[in-house]
């Protein structure tokens, strides 16, 4: 038997704190009554509907919901890539109107520059911010070592596997030392084995950097495993239904998803979701 990663004496709690009653004190991200509307072929589509949330400095928050519920739109608004229709996103007290280099983003697809080597892809951000070439490359080399791709420093992206490409994309986003790291289903396109490895990598990485992370996924296991808090979104229009505190101790590893305590937590979580009676979440049946 593998030793339990969860301490039996520590009760697992799931506390729903949505909507936030009082504004969190040291919130670095604050989304206030945010609505985003798109002009679709058959009229307007409300992708995000009056969402409010706050993320504290250093927190790891996941946003979970079925595909099409507005997760990416919400994250893009935090990134400054999408303009609010109503409401606003404040990061470090400043309204997001355009991308800012102190906010990093990792997309579902790596979107590496195909004409640049791994090293130069990672050095792109520091170079864009005007750092001298030597310094940018030094930053890149440090990150390459951290993601364990030293052998591939001068390889071009298309020669790498999907998981390796996504590691480069994460390193590239970290090269500007962002205060906030936004991740939009970063492991969604990877196979199950690679995904588990990447989740463990991210858990380790998180101990070393002090960025606040907002992580979008449609995988409830992934959300619970990685996060301090899980926000549950509903579809059409995109709203936040639940705000769940995950009181699993750290450090964690992907091995805990097989443990009884974890499964109980997940069942609670799914019950909470299901009690809302939303069809959209039928796909999140317990498979255990």
């Amino acid at each position: 038997m593998t030793p339990s990663l969860l301490r039996p004496d520590q009760p697992l709690r799931l506390v729903d704190t949505y909507p936030p009653s009082a504004p969190a004190l040291q919130a670095i991200i604050r989304v206030e009554d945010l609505s985003i509307v798109f002009d679709g072929p058959s009229g307007q589509v409300i992708a995000v509907d009056r969402v409010s949330l706050a993320v504290a400095q250093g927190e790891f928050v996941s946003i979970v919901g079925p595909s099409g519920c507005g997760k990416s739109t919400l994250l893009n608004a935090m990134a400054g890539l999408e303009r609010p229709f109503e409401g606003q996103v404040l990061i470090a007290g400043e309204a997001m109107r355009a991308p800012r280099p102190e906010i990093g983003m990792v997309f579902q697809q790596p979107h590496l520059f195909p004409w640049k080597s791994v090293r130069r892809n990672i050095a792109h951000g520091p170079r864009a911010l005007g750092k001298p070439k030597a310094e940018a490359l030094r930053i890149a080399d440090d990150l390459i070592e951290m993601i364990g791709l030293t052998r591939f420093a001068s390889a071009y992206p298309h020669t790498l596997s999907g998981g390796m490409q996504q590691r480069v994309a994460i390193a590239r986003a970290l090269a500007n030392q962002p205060r906030v790291l936004l991740m939009d289903e970063p492991f969604g396109a990877l196979d199950a084995q690679t995904r588990a490895v990447m989740q463990d990598n991210l858990l380790e990485l998180r101990e070393r950097i002090n960025a606040t992370i907002v992580f979008v996924t449609h995988d409830i296991d992934e959300a619970i495993l990685l996060s301090d808090r899980v926000l549950i979104m509903s579809a059409g229009p995109g709203r936040i239904l639940r705000d769940l505190q995950v009181s699993l101790p750290r450090p964690r590893s992907s091995a805990i998803v097989a443990e009884a305590a974890y499964l109980a937590l997940k069942r609670d979580c799914l019950d909470l979701i299901r009690s809302e009676g939303r069809r959209a979440f039928e796909q999140m049946e317990i498979r255990t």
Partner: protein
């Protein structure tokens, strides 16, 4: 048997290489025999030996080199100007909707008109000057390169642009680095097509009246019934165009260096 199968495959491969090597000499030989046999008029269809003599004479007289330089410089200058203009305007129309609204309708009307059709008006505008010839080649190259660049820029992965934005890439780098390199695979295809087009338009330009050049030499030889020289000129033009296309293909592969 797998061994036997492999052997017969390699025999077939060797045979096809042999046939390919012998193909041109064989056809030249047949042509020589037919032309000498009297079945066809040897003045209109001179045998390869006569063509070879005419080409040697062309080279020995020193005219060949002058003609080559004249034709090549027209093609090169026209290609360079047309391609540069096509890339710059293609990036602008591909990236900025307002510029596209302004220019694309006009370009789409002008593009399908064969450049050769402009010969009469070009003679009126520029006479028999080099400017007129340059104009024709530029005209042919420009629209091909513009369209390829325009489409290429629009097909640049939006994700790449968003990633670059998130990393703090300044606007002008965005255009001349991310957008241009993102569109480069399309642009090189357009440029390669434009190489052939620049030779087509060269023919029109020199036929419209010139004082040197390979096509000019073909026309003069035709007027003097020097059919050997005519065919030698055609062969030179074909060879030149072929070499240009091949070298450009090699260059294009290098240009998209990350593939």
């Amino acid at each position: 048997m797998s061994g036997g199968g492999r052997r017969s495959t390699s025999t077939a491969a060797r045979l096809s290489v042999l046939v390919a090597v012998l193909s041109v000499p064989a056809f030249t030989g047949v042509w020589e025999l037919v032309a000498r046999s009297g079945i066809v008029n040897a003045v209109l269809f001179p045998p390869p030996s006569t063509v070879a003599v005419a080409v040697l004479e062309w080279i020995r007289s020193g005219q060949f080199f002058g003609d080559l330089v004249a034709s090549l410089s027209r093609v090169a200058a026209g290609f360079a100007i047309g391609a540069a203009g096509g890339i710059v305007l293609g990036v602008l129309t591909g990236q900025f909707r307002l510029v596209s609204s302004l220019l694309s309708p006009l370009f789409h009307i002008l593009r399908p008109i064969p450049p050769i059709a402009f010969v009469p008006i070009v003679i009126l505008w520029f006479g028999l000057s080099e400017t007129g010839k340059l104009f024709l080649v530029v005209w042919g190259v420009f629209f091909t390169v513009w369209l390829a660049t325009h489409i290429g820029v629009q097909k640049v992965d939006r994700g790449l642009i968003r990633a670059a934005q998130m990393l703090g890439t300044p606007q002008r780098h965005m255009l001349w680095e991310i957008v241009l390199l993102g569109a480069l695979p399309y642009i090189t295809v357009g440029l390669r097509t434009a190489v052939s087009i620049s030779f087509y338009t060269l023919v029109a330009a020199e036929l419209a009246g010139a004082f040197s050049g390979i096509v000019y030499r073909i026309e003069i030889a035709q007027q003097n019934m020097q059919t050997g020289q005519v065919m030698g000129g055609l062969a030179a033009l074909g060879l030149l165009s072929f070499v240009a296309d091949r070298s450009f293909a090699t260059l294009a592969e290098r240009a998209v260096w990350w593939r």
